[in-house]
């Protein structure tokens, strides 16, 4: 799972879900950032990032997630995360990502709370 990276987009009427798979480093992070930018430019300011298939994140991945949060904040949008491992959840809280984005156990609840 970690050796391959992939991004899936699921667009709803008022929201979009970005699901990542693999190591969230610079390579996957840039792809994620690019997709998020496209969605925001297309008017999707309610985003969910599903990290269920991403068990490994490095500091560059974290900084890219912070950038997405900032980009959405500027458009008064909302970002929710889901599918985090316990360690990831603690990391997101410690890195203050949880201050500006919601954390939910699954995609369904993350969408419902946008």
């Amino acid at each position: 799972m970690l050796n391959k990276f992939d991004i899936q987009i699921r667009e709803g009427q008022e929201h979009a879900v970005i699901e990542t798979a693999g190591y969230l480093n610079d390579a996957l992070g840039e792809k994620l950032s690019e997709k998020a930018r496209e969605l925001i430019q297309n008017g999707h300011t309610q985003l969910v990032i599903n990290l269920e298939k991403t068990t490994l994140i490095n500091s560059i991945g974290i900084s890219i997630l912070i950038e997405i949060i900032e980009a959405l904040e500027e458009r008064e949008g909302t970002l929710n995360f889901c599918g985090l491992s316990a360690t990831q959840e603690r990391t997101f809280k410690m890195m203050a990502l949880a201050k500006y984005a919601g954390i939910f156990p699954d995609e369904e609840s993350a969408i419902a709370n946008l």
């Binding site: 050796n3 560059i60 900084s63 912070i66 603690r90 410690m94």
Partner: protein
């Protein structure tokens, strides 16, 4: 925040009616307001400069009444300028900066695009496309002290050819603010990265130490190290001290394992020999570096150009210390990445970080190993218990009454299951088969081998007819039917055990065929300790000492014939004669001084108690052995079988 375009429009509208002083005053007030906005942007909490750079550009252009411009941010690791904000919004490639150009850029506060200083002419050539599209007139290097941070490029000035002196002062202030924003962004990024690393270091320790499966612990150790060091690859190599070799235990990505396959001793990355013969040359390759880490116990690293191990990555490795100060293995990370996908060199701080993590990894690996060993020990214990039950069920609860004879047996399991066995089997026509055996190995396999031996023996004794019909005259010859039948039975049992076990699984076996009517005891020894015959008069002899074959199940039948064929012999028992059958647990009992009980003491003790009944002899011999053993530990089973002619 004011809209600069509106302010600009307002300025133009009133241009004709307002005096120059009034216009200047109005623009100064606007500029002060925009400077406040700039400060607000700086402290807004946005940590990423690239993200807020558009705001800085908009404020700068609005303040100075310029329509087009760009902000470029310098990346020291890649030595180029990224165009992070530009009006009009277009994408431009990064502009490389040479080291001497960097020096020149730091020397100027403003640079006219039309008249670049000599050392910057090539730089201006490289940035010509950007300058052309934006129509850049003036460049402003961004810096704090001697650190070059980027540049502002300004297009055509509205309604004037050049900036006035006070505008240049304002531009200097704006440039300084933007420089602070870039430096602040860099600092925050650095702090965030360090915060992340320290948190991950603190978080990973208890997490990996809780993992109880060695494979899972190895995987998590590598993953955490890769994440911690912003690396793109990692590996855990554990030492094999017997082979003096490092063996790849887990690698990320797993394709690394496929790239570094084949066998131990090949020195190809998956297996690296670090023994005495594995010399380390002065010019280190990646493999040499990894060897030196394990032999010297110090961190090491090498650059991508060193060689091609792990696909030519730049590697850093640290030793993984064990509790006893030994080195369990090495932890390797490769390709430290930077934002933008560039590969950076590992720093001294990285070495310290990975070294700290490796100490925790050592605890985790040892914990997992200890847990695994405990599990295996528990499993072995359970297996031993099962084996013990099987074994004990094979030993007769009570021995039969043989007319004219007394028999007594003693079986005492001690320590691990050894596989002793004895039996006294009633044959048709009143004959008796007495057997004693010691199965090699321990645990369930030994117990099953013993069960196989017993089943084979009973089957053979019920099937072979001549054994029950022998007579003294026939037995006088080694070619007699009883001798032949007993030897054949031994071959059958040998074949049975050989087929059911490995080379290490065999049994020493002594069989006695007793005819109570004739008092002839016909015996066959298959590698067992020779039983002791003590005559009523105190003389003694060892049975099967000279005529004996090899243990059962050790070799196939055709080889047994070539090595030492099984042969029977017989002895006639008189009233008061005693035969002491035993296993090596008796003669190899050790005392506190590490002396063996041995055959000599067995003879002395047997002679001393020969006049007792069989049960009394059994008890006396057992006591003699126990007295000899004293406080010493004993690990082998102790088995005695006594046959006494009344």
């Amino acid at each position: 925040m004011k809209d600069p375009s509106k302010s600009l429009g307002a300025n133009l509208q009133t241009h004709k009616t307002q005096s120059t002083a009034e216009q200047t005053m109005e623009r100064l007030i606007f500029s002060l307001s925009e400077l406040e906005n700039l400060g607000q942007t700086l402290i807004s909490g946005h940590t990423n400069f690239n993200h807020s750079s558009k705001t800085y550009l908009r404020i700068t252009l609005g303040t100075l009444q310029i329509r087009r411009g760009a902000i470029l941010r310098y990346h020291p690791t890649q030595q180029n300028l990224d165009v992070v904000a530009v009006t009009p919004d277009e994408i431009f490639p990064p502009v490389p900066v040479e080291p001497d150009e960097l020096t020149a850029l730091l020397q100027h506060a403003f640079i006219e695009n039309a008249a670049p200083p000599e050392p910057l002419k090539h730089f201006f050539d490289r940035s010509a496309k950007l300058a052309e599209v934006i129509d850049i007139r003036l460049w402003v290097p961004l810096k704090i002290q001697d650190e070059f941070l980027g540049m502002i490029g300004l297009g055509k000035f509205l309604a004037r050819d050049a900036l006035e002196a006070w505008e240049k002062e304002l531009l200097t202030t704006l440039a300084h603010q933007i420089s602070i924003a870039i430096a602040y962004s860099q600092m925050v990024e650095g702090i965030q990265s360090e915060k992340f690393r320290l948190f991950m270091l603190a978080e990973s320790a208890p997490q990996i130490c809780q993992l109880l499966q060695p494979e899972e612990a190895a995987e998590q150790v590598v993953h955490q190290a890769v994440s911690l060091l912003d690396a793109n690859a990692g590996a855990l190599m554990l030492t094999n001290t017997d082979r003096q070799e490092l063996e790849m235990n887990y690698a990320f990505p797993e394709t690394l394992l496929e790239q570094t396959t084949t066998s131990p001793g090949s020195g190809n990355g998956r297996f690296i020999s670090y023994g005495e013969n594995a010399s380390i040359p002065e010019e280190l390759t990646s493999i040499d570096m990894l060897k030196s880490v394990v032999t010297e116990g110090l961190p090491g690293h090498c650059l991508p150009e060193s060689d091609t191990l792990f696909g030519g990555r730049n590697l850093m490795a640290v030793p993984i210390p064990g509790r006893d100060g030994d080195i369990l293995g090495i932890l390797v990370v490769g390709d430290k990445e930077e934002r933008g996908g560039r590969i950076a060199a590992f720093t001294d701080e990285d070495v310290i970080l990975l070294d700290s993590f490796a100490k925790q990894a050592g605890v985790a690996i040892e914990n997992a190993r200890l847990h695994q060993e405990a599990l295996e020990a528990r499993q072995l214990q359970a297996e031993m218990e099962e084996a013990r039950k099987i074994q004990e069920n094979l030993i007769p609860d009570r021995l039969p009454d043989i007319p004219g004879y007394e028999v007594a047996g003693h079986y005492e399991p001690r320590g691990a299951v050894g596989g002793d066995y004895y039996d006294c089997i009633a044959l048709p026509t009143g004959r008796w088969g007495l057997a004693i055996a010691d199965v090699s190995g321990k645990g369930m396999q030994a117990a099953l081998l013993m069960a196989t031996l017993r089943a084979g023996l009973i089957s053979e004794l019920s099937r072979v007819k001549n054994i029950a019909t022998e007579n003294v005259e026939q037995n006088a010859s080694t070619q007699g039917p009883l001798y032949t039948e007993i030897a054949d039975m031994a071959m059958t049992l040998n074949s049975l055990l050989y087929a059911s076990g490995t080379e290490e699984k065999y049994a020493t076996f002594f069989y006695s065929h007793l005819n109570p009517e004739t008092d002839i005891l016909t015996t066959l020894n298959a590698g067992h300790n020779p039983p002791l015959l003590v005559r009523k008069d105190g003389t003694y002899k060892w049975l099967g000492e000279e005529v004996g074959g090899i243990p059962l199940g050790m070799f196939p039948n055709d080889m047994v014939s070539n090595i030492a064929e099984y042969e029977a012999e017989h002895v006639e028992l008189m009233s008061g004669d005693v035969v002491v059958y035993y296993t090596d647990g008796v003669t190899e009992t050790v005392n506190i001084e590490d002396d063996y009980y041995d055959e000599e003491r067995l003879v002395e003790a047997s002679i001393a108690c020969k006049d007792e009944d069989a049960e009394g002899i059994r008890a006396s011999l057992h006591k003699a052995v126990m007295d000899f053993q004293g406080e010493a530990d004993q690990f082998d089973d102790l088995t005695l079988l006594i046959l006494r002619k009344k």
